[in-house]
Every structure is written in structure tokens, then in C-alpha cells.
Amino acid sequence: MSSLRIEDACKYFGGLKAVDGINMTVPAGRITGLIGPNGAGKSTVVNMISGVYSLTRGEVYLDEQQLTRLHVDEVARCGIARTFQNIRLLPEESVLDNVVIGYFRKQRSGVMSSLMGLPAALAETRRLREQAWELLGRFGIQKYADYEAGSLPYGHQRRVEMARSIAAAPRIVMLDEPVAGMNEVESAEMAEIFEDLARSGMGLLLIEHNVAFVSRLCSQVYVLDSGRMIAEGPPEAVTRDPKVIEAYIGGKADAA
Amino acid sequence: AQSDEYHVVVLQALTGPAAFIGTAVADGMRLAEQQINEQGLLGEGNTLKVTYADDATDRTQTMSLIARYANDPSILGILGPTSGAVAIAGASSGNQYKVPVVTTTNTPEVLDQGPWSFILTQPPEITIPYLVDYAADVKGVKECAVIGIRDIEAYVALQKQFEKLMTDKGVRITTVEQVGGTDSDFSSVATKIATSQQDCVFVSASASQGANIIVQLRQAGLDPATPVFGHNAFASPEFLNRGGAGVEGVTFIADWVPGGYDDFTKAFATEFSETFGHEADNWNAVGYGGMLVMANALKSMPEPTREALRDQLGKTSEVRVAAGQGSYSVDEKRYPHVGMNVLTVQDGAFVQAPR
């Protein structure tokens, strides 16, 4: 079973220590939570792992393979997928095509056969479109398949992005606030999907401000505050930790 | 033949970069057309029909238009295109479709395309000797700096010919500077030449650009005693307007002596300025002559066919025109000969250069 590890990772922006010496493990087959106040550095962690940011210090490993200095596309080809906190779809493409592009990593037909329009390449396209269509079904947005992605309501755009990120069956997927903008009923649907994915062996890193949602799904939760890890452990323990309550959850109990 | 209508096309650059030549040539041709029909120059009852077309200095349009006109059997010949590669391409098309094409340019390559193509202006190897002889022999210059337009091939050809013939005469070419055809800021080149040693400057450019270069040369401090030479493009009122006092003393060869020098040319000059409201320039005169040459060939055709027209154009001999020394002939290589004048600017006017 593979796992993603980051060791003593730091990211400084000028004087600002956005991430400051943290260690974390995201095991396969589990859902790992990463929570923390706004500006704690959660998205920065995702960007460091996925290769958008270089690390000021520290290392990233997938099993034994070092990812620290790989570029974005190389990291992705190792099987690490992500979504973006500010949704990033290809706005002019149809919803279906947005998902089809997600299969890139698993494509087998080469550039030449594509340029020459060989039957193998065409058949692959057909097959991928069907798979993408299935996947849209799983996220309940099949009926939007032919719409321009940019015209979908916010919540549906999130689903498209998630579908795209898991299309190529990554080993690890990092979801940055996947249910933001969804109500309880809608996020419950997403929860089911996440659990399915974990059962299939994928490792999920879930960043979310919905503590109840995180508690329900995650086996392990990390809490980041001002770039430092202030707590980690099973959700029940973490959410009762006074440091976490003070920095993050606040006095009032969360809804539902 | 009883009252034939001879149909020719004037295909010039009326817009685009070569429009400053094309429009002027077309105007000259319009005046000639009018006179030819008024004076019945084509013989009893015969009329000349002219269609004016614009190729926008664009080879695509030239080739399309020539194909179209070639496909219209009523059209006997084409006066155009104007110049440059467009003219060469037009000449090739003319040969392909077997329709006589009389380009305005002076580039002998037009003639290489085949027997159906002609040029209206004399190539550099005919015109430049007039200038070189004057500069080297009369003025006795020894060292000459050259400034030319780098991207207008007609000017480049003139410049090359000048360099070659001067070198043949033992004159040293000190430096060759090239500027762009649309530039107007020559301060750097001017400073460079003004601060170096030579006893002659040759400028190969259009009237307005050339005047501008010379003015900027003088402003940069060029020794006023250094003679400045140019070629036939300077023979235009444009040159004086643009250059003013700055071009005083510039010497150049000319197809056209502004204002005319005998009855025929003076009549042309008067009629032209009455018709168009401004003085005739070099290109007006060339256009006027071109149409007369065409009319002469049309008149002498045994039958109205393109072959006949082509043959007659090739036999043009001593047609009275306004350009050069007034008599236009074509030799066996189809090179035109009209002679050249050497002019100089004196008190803001063109006069024959003193020998």
C-alpha cells in the first residue's frame, strides 16, 4: 500500500512562513483530513506536494520515490491528483471533455497515431468518452455533459473538477475544500463517493472547513495553524483538543 | 478596319505601398487616353477603351486580375503592374496567359519572363551611366558615400549599378548605408556620414524620402560643398517641396524635366496641371508616355489580336513622349530607350546641370 509523506516541509514567502516544518502522511485506502484556520497554509501544502511551489526546505515522498523537485506534470504522472480551491475548469470545453482530459495520464495511443488519425487513437477517444460519461453519472451531473463547463453553477463545477481529478485513477488525490458551497444533503452525496474511492484503494487528502464532515470521513486529521502542525490524530481527539478549538473551531458548536 | 474599339487595362497600384508611383502613372495615362480619343490618334473612328484597376500593390490581386482580364477576349493588353516583385509576377502571369503586359518598372527581370512582358522605364544600366559620367567626369569626385532604401528593389538596383560604375571609374565607395522604405528618422545615418570623409554622397530613394534624407544630412552638418547625387525619382515637384533650401544643388538624372523643355513637353505640362490641378512629375510623364506607346502599337497592328499587339510593342520606335529626351524606342532586348537628362536644383527650381 502506497503512501504520500512530507517531511519537515517549509514554504516561506519572503518573511512569511506559510508552512513551517511540518510532517504528514497520507496513506492509501484512507481519507486523511487537513484542517486549520484561514491562511494556515493548507492550500500551500497542496501546492508544495503537487509541484506548483518549490519547497523552502523539506522533502516529499510517494513511497520511496522522492517528488520534492519534480515538476507539476511529473508529479501528476506519478499518480497524484488534485483539485483547486478556486475551481479551475477549462471554461470553453464541454463538461464531458473536461473530464476526458483527466484521463491523460492513462492514455496509451501515441502522438503519431493521433496525428494520423489511426483507428486505435479514435477508439481510445470513444472509450474514454464513455468512461467519462459513467463518471459524470456517479457525480450526478450527467445531464450537463454537453454544457460549457463555465456556465455551470458553482456546486456543479466542483463536481466536474473532482470527476476530472479522479478520472485517471490516481494513487493519491488531494481535494481542496470539495464541498464548499454545497448544502448538507449535497455534501452527504459527496461523502459517499469519497468513501467509495478510499475503499477502492485511493488515498485521499481532504481539506475542509466543515468539521462535522471531516470528522465523519477521516481516519486521521492534521491541524495546521500559521504554518505549524498544532495537532494530529483521530478526529474525535483532535476536535476536542483545546488548542484546536481555540484556533479553529471556536466556541459555538458547529451545526448538525 | 472600320471603327474598332481597342480595349486595354491599366492595372496599377492605386493603393498600398507603391501607390505613390501607381496613382501618378495612372493619372498620366488618363490624360493620354483623353487626348488619344479626342484627337483620333488611333485612326478614323477607332476608339480607345481603358479600364482602370487597382492591385493594391498586392501580388495576389495582380495575378487574379491578370487571369481575369486574360480570360476576357475583348482585352488586348495590360499596362501594369507598377513595380517590384509584383511586376515580375504580373509579367509571368502575362506570359502564361499570353497577354501583353507592359509594366511600369525598370527591372529587366520582367523581360526574362517571356516575350509577352515589357518595361516602361529604362533599366539602371541605361540610365545610371548618365549620372556616373557627370559625377566622375564633370564633377571629378573621388570618394563617394551611398545611402539607399534597403527594401525597394528598384532603388537597390539603381544603387548597385551606381556603385559598380563608379568603382569602374576608379571612384572609391566609402560607405554604403541602408534605410527602410518607410523610415523617416535618418538622424543616425546622417550623423554618421556627416562626420566622415567623402567628396560625394549618392542617395537612392523616392523624391520625398530622398529629400528628407538630404535635409537631415545637411542638418547633421554635412559639408555644404559636398555634391549630392540622386536618380530619376527626384525629378518631381515633391522633391523641391519636401527639401526646400535643403536640396539646393542636388544633381540627378531625370526622365522628366519639370515644366517641359520644348513645345510638346510644355504642352503636356500645361495640360496636365490644368486637368489635375498640380504640376506633372516624373511618374505622370512616364504614364503619359506609356499610354502613347500603347496607342502607337495599337494603331500599327495589322489586326486587333494580342499577338499583333505584342509584336508591335516590341517594334516600338521613335514614339514621341514627354519623358527623357522625347523619343521612345525599344531595342531587340526589349529595353526601352528615351534618353536621360541631368538636372540640378538651382534657386528652388530644376535646371539642366551645367557641364
Binding site: 515538476h71 507539476v72 | 518607410t182 535618418f186 554618421k192 562626420t195 520625398s208
Partner: protein, 296 residues
């Protein structure tokens, strides 16, 4: 000769700057490639020419041309760009509409001038030379340098010290959000186009005057030049445009003087290419947050 050539380059560069500043406002700030800017520049020279030909004093013609080209530029924005911005496809479509405007303006100018090259009558501006340290500078060149300096400072003040500059940047970065803040994008566009057009027109008059040549196609080489200036300077950076313009003027002048006038274009553009390799956002461009696939 070196100093003289640097001076020549500076004066040419100052004029490029005038042209390029307006272009930066439109191209750099609004991301619109306005290929009609050269024609507007040309219109400035034409208007001033015909105004002086009517006997108006030169300074008045200059003012008239500046205001008129500002107004033309606003009209151009209205007919060629406004609708495109609404449809949200301006970036590329503007290339075509601005070519359309360019064709129209050039055609009109060609008809008006009968394809001739025009120039201001002699004595429009007193011809007077000053010599110092072995250099010659004309009164006109001095005036141009002074004028450009004043204008650049005024513009810099207007853009950087009033809220207008912020509004321009806000509209260019997100028109939708700007509207929510109460910014009238239309008004911002009107003002930038007016300024850009007026600067171009003014540059047209000055160039027509100093280089003695007014022609319906005179805008083209300057347009090409302006591209280079704006990009080397860094898109949207006013200081950048000025520095780049003068730098290019000087480099051009020196290549002609010491290397080769025949190769000057090749050298300038090769330099441009190399500059971009080392400064992918231009000399003064704010480093974009683009890094493609590599870590930053």
C-alpha cells in the same frame, strides 16, 4: 560622434515613448492589440498639417490635432471595441476590428492627400541649432525632449497618484468585479482611449514636423516599434515604456553608427529576442505568477 549619436537616439526614443505610452495604456493595460493606433498617430499629423495649411498658427494646429485624435480614438473604441468587450472575446477579435479601422483611416488619408507625402511648410518651427561639447541639437529636438518629459510626468502623476490609475487596472483585471465596485468601465475606457489617442496624435505631429514627412502609411513602422517598446518595458508599465523607448532609440542609433545600418533591424530584433529570454516579463514587468509546469 558617440555623444551626438546618443543624443540622436534619445530624441528618437523620446518620440517612440510618446507613441508607445498610449499604446501601453491600450495594449498593456487593457490587453487590446490596437492595430489602428498607427493610423491615429498618422491622423494627428494630417490634421495638424491641414490646419496649418488653412493658415492657423502651428501651436494651435498642434493642440487641435491632439484633441481631435483623442476624440477619434474614443470613437474608434466605440465602434470597434466596445461591443467586443461586451461579448467577452475582445482579445483576438480586436485585432480584426482594429485592422478594419486602420484600413478606413488610411484610405481616407490617402484620398485626402492624393497619396502624396506632405510636410509642414518651412519655417513652421524656427530652425535653430545649438552646439555644445561638439554636439548639435536643434531647437525642435530640445522642445521635443522637454515636451515628452512634461507629458510623461503628467501622465505618471495622473495614473499613479490619482484613483484613475487604480480604476484602469481594476477594469483591466476584472471588469465584472469593477462594476460591482461602482467603477464605470465605459468611462475608464473613454478616458484611456482619449489619452492614448491624444498622445499618439501629438507624436504624429512632432514626428511629421521633425522628420519632415507626413504620409498615409507613416504609422506602420512606429506601430512595430511600439510593440517592441511596450513589451520590452513590461506590459502596462509606463516607466518601462519610457525607458525601453529611449533605450531602443539609443541602441538603434549606435548600431547604425558603429555596426551596420543594413543589419540594424536584425540586430535590434535579435536583441529584443534575447532580452525576452532573460526578462520574460519585460524589463519592468511585474513577474506574472505563471510558471507552467515548473516549481516556483
Amino acid at each position: 560622434m558617440l555623444l551626438q549619436q546618443i543624443l540622436n537616439g534619445t530624441v528618437s526614443g523620446a518620440i517612440y515613448a510618446l507613441f508607445a505610452l498610449g499604446f501601453t495604456l491600450i495594449f498593456g493595460v487593457q490587453k487590446l492589440l490596437n492595430l489602428a493606433h498607427g493610423a491615429i498617430f498618422m491622423a494627428g499629423a494630417f490634421i495638424a498639417y491641414y490646419a496649418t495649411a488653412q493658415g492657423l498658427p502651428f501651436w494651435f494646429a498642434l493642440l487641435l490635432a491632439t484633441i481631435a485624435t483623442g476624440a477619434i480614438s474614443v470613437v474608434v473604441d466605440f465602434v470597434a471595441f466596445r461591443q467586443l468587450r461586451k461579448s467577452g472575446h475582445a482579445e483576438f477579435a480586436a485585432i480584426v476590428t482594429s485592422i478594419g479601422v486602420d484600413l478606413i483611416l488610411m484610405n481616407i488619408a490617402q484620398q485626402v492627400s492624393n497619396t502624396k507625402v506632405l510636410s509642414f511648410p518651412f519655417g513652421t518651427f524656427p530652425v535653430k541649432f545649438f552646439s555644445f561639447w561638439g554636439m548639435r541639437i536643434s531647437l525642435l529636438q530640445l522642445t521635443i525632449l522637454g515636451l515628452v518629459l512634461v507629458l510623461v510626468l503628467a501622465l505618471a502623476y495622473y495614473i499613479n497618484r490619482t484613483s484613475f490609475g487604480r480604476q484602469v487596472r481594476a477594469v483591466s483585471s476584472n471588469e465584472h468585479a469593477s462594476a460591482l465596485l461602482g467603477i464605470s468601465a465605459a468611462a475608464v475606457y473613454r478616458q484611456t482611449f482619449f489619452i492614448a489617442g491624444a498622445l499618439a496624435g501629438l507624436a504624429g505631429v512632432l514626428i511629421g514636423l521633425s522628420f519632415n514627412s507626413i504620409h498615409f502609411m507613416m504609422g506602420e513602422p512606429f506601430l512595430l516599434q511600439a510593440f517592441v517598446v511596450v513589451v520590452i518595458g513590461g506590459l502596462g508599465s509606463l516607466q518601462g515604456a519610457v525607458v525601453a523607448a529611449i533605450l531602443i532609440g539609443i541602441v538603434q542609433s549606435l548600431t547604425i553608427a558603429y555596426l551596420s545600418s543594413e543589419l540594424s533591424t536584425a540586430i535590434i530584433f535579435a536583441l529584443l529576442f534575447v532580452t525576452l529570454l532573460f526578462f520574460p516579463n519585460g524589463l519592468f514587468g511585474r513577474a506574472g505568477n505563471y510558471a507552467g509546469g515548473s516549481r516556483r
